[in-house]
Every structure is written in structure tokens, then in C-alpha cells.
């Protein structure tokens, strides 16, 4: 199916820390948008998974955050910025299996140390910046074939 995209289509959602019931809504909105635009299913899946993991990180660790997306004829760029504790050692945090999640988070099915690796794996370009005590910004680009 031909892509129906002209210029850049933008959108954003506010993310609320600790709110497990609305977590995933921003990813679902993006998914719906991409489907409307005729984007291939596997690309939508990658974008939705990467975005959902990023959303969950905000819900689990931060007070609040924003998700912005930009869809162009070349691909999707997703930026998630949060007001959270920040990550002291990004190299360690990117390691599969490493997690600082407390027990209650693990009991809810998160914190297996796969979130950041999962985001990276589903992106063509993945960047992460973090300042301890201020917050974390993740940017992911998924190119259209």
C-alpha cells in the first residue's frame, strides 16, 4: 500500500508517572495514526513496541513526561522526555537483564531489564541522554524501507 504522507505529521501525548491504567495509550494512538497512513505492519509493530516500552519507563520511574512523534515520508521519529531520577550509568542500563526496578514493579510484570534493549532493537537510530536528578530523553528513529 502506498504511503499517504505529505510533509511532517506531528503529535504528542502527556505521560503520567505511576499511572499503569493509561500506560500504553500514547503508543496505541501512534499505532492508529500509522495504520491510517498506510505504513507497513512490521514497521508499525516496531514503532509501537519501542514506544510502549518508553512509555512504561516513564510510568515506572518518572513523575511525568512527554511523548512526541514526527512522521515524514522517510520514517518515524519518536522523542520521549521525562522528569525522572535520570540514569547514572547508561552503559549498564542498556545491558540486557540489568534493572533497578523495585520488587513491586517486577510483581506487575515489568523490570526484567529488557526495556531499553527492546527500544534499541526496534529502532534504526537510538539515542539516550540522561542527567541524574533531572530526567532522561530517548529519541528513536524508524526508517521506512
Amino acid at each position: 500500500m502506498a504511503l499517504n504522507i505529505e510533509g511532517t505529521i506531528e503529535g504528542s501525548s502527556q505521560l503520567i508517572g505511576g499511572d499503569f491504567t493509561t500506560a500504553g495509550e500514547a503508543s496505541t494512538l501512534l499505532k492508529v495514526k500509522l495504520t491510517e497512513l498506510g505504513v507497513a505492519e512490521d514497521i508499525i509493530r516496531r514503532a509501537a513496541i519501542a514506544t510502549f516500552e518508553a512509555e512504561m519507563n516513564v510510568v515506572i520511574y518518572a513523575a511525568a513526561g512527554w511523548l512526541h512523534y514526527y512522521i515524514s515520508p522517510q520514517g518515524i521519529r519518536i522523542r520521549i522526555e521525562d522528569m525522572g531520577p535520570g540514569i547514572a550509568d547508561i552503559g549498564l542500563a542498556m545491558q540486557e537483564g540489568y534493572s533497578t526496578a523495585p520488587d513491586w514493579v517486577r510483581e506487575m510484570g515489568w523490570g526484567a531489564g529488557m526495556g531499553l534493549p527492546n527500544m534499541k532493537r526496534n529502532s534504526d537510530v537510538f539515542t539516550i541522554d540522561s542527567v541524574v536528578g533531572e530526567g532522561t530523553t530517548v529519541e528513536m528513529v524508524i526508517n521506512f524501507p
Binding site: T21, A48, E53, G109
Partner: protein
Amino acid sequence: MTLKEIADILGATFITEPDNPDLHIRSACSSDMMSAVLYYHSPDSLLITGLTQLHVVRTAEIAGIISIVFVMNKRPDERAIELAGQKKIPLLTTPCCMYTASGRLFRAGLPGCSHK
């Protein structure tokens, strides 16, 4: 394997009635960790889990899981049931634990989600 066959093998009951009880399931994933579901998902697969929160249904939807079986007679709350209804993801509940549910379905020929 069809959804109806799975329900029979597990002695499971439908929490939300499927539009199509002959829906074809190609593989299964047994997990309580949602990132693992997002990581190892396969198309047209079944999630077997002990977690019942709303975000389990969301995870399933995002990972392309087409049905969920809750083990040990667990039932999700109304909001999760409602979301599953909207997303057309049939929910089942079985008295089996995750080990027995996995064992029976594997014995009946259902493969696991591909390991990548």
C-alpha cells in the same frame, strides 16, 4: 490449533466470547514479564500468563498476540475485559497452572514463539 481446541485441552472457559472460535493460533508464549512478550512475540500467538492487569491486554495488542489465557482461574477486572473486547482479543481462564497449561498445549503440538 484453534482457540476452541485450546479451550478444550485446558478445560478453560471464555471470559470474552470470541467472534471466531476457530481462530487459528500458531504458537504460544508463557510469561509474566511483559517486555519478554514484546521481545519474543510471534504473529498469531497465544499468551499464557498469571498477570491480569489492564496493561497485559495492551501488551498483547501491541505485540500482536491474538488471545490470552489466564492461569489458575484468574480473571482480569472489567476495564481489562472491556479493552480486550474493543481490541477483539478473546480472553480465557483455566484452572491449570502455567506449567500444566504449557505442558498440555506443547504435547498437543502447539509450538513456542520463535526464539530470536
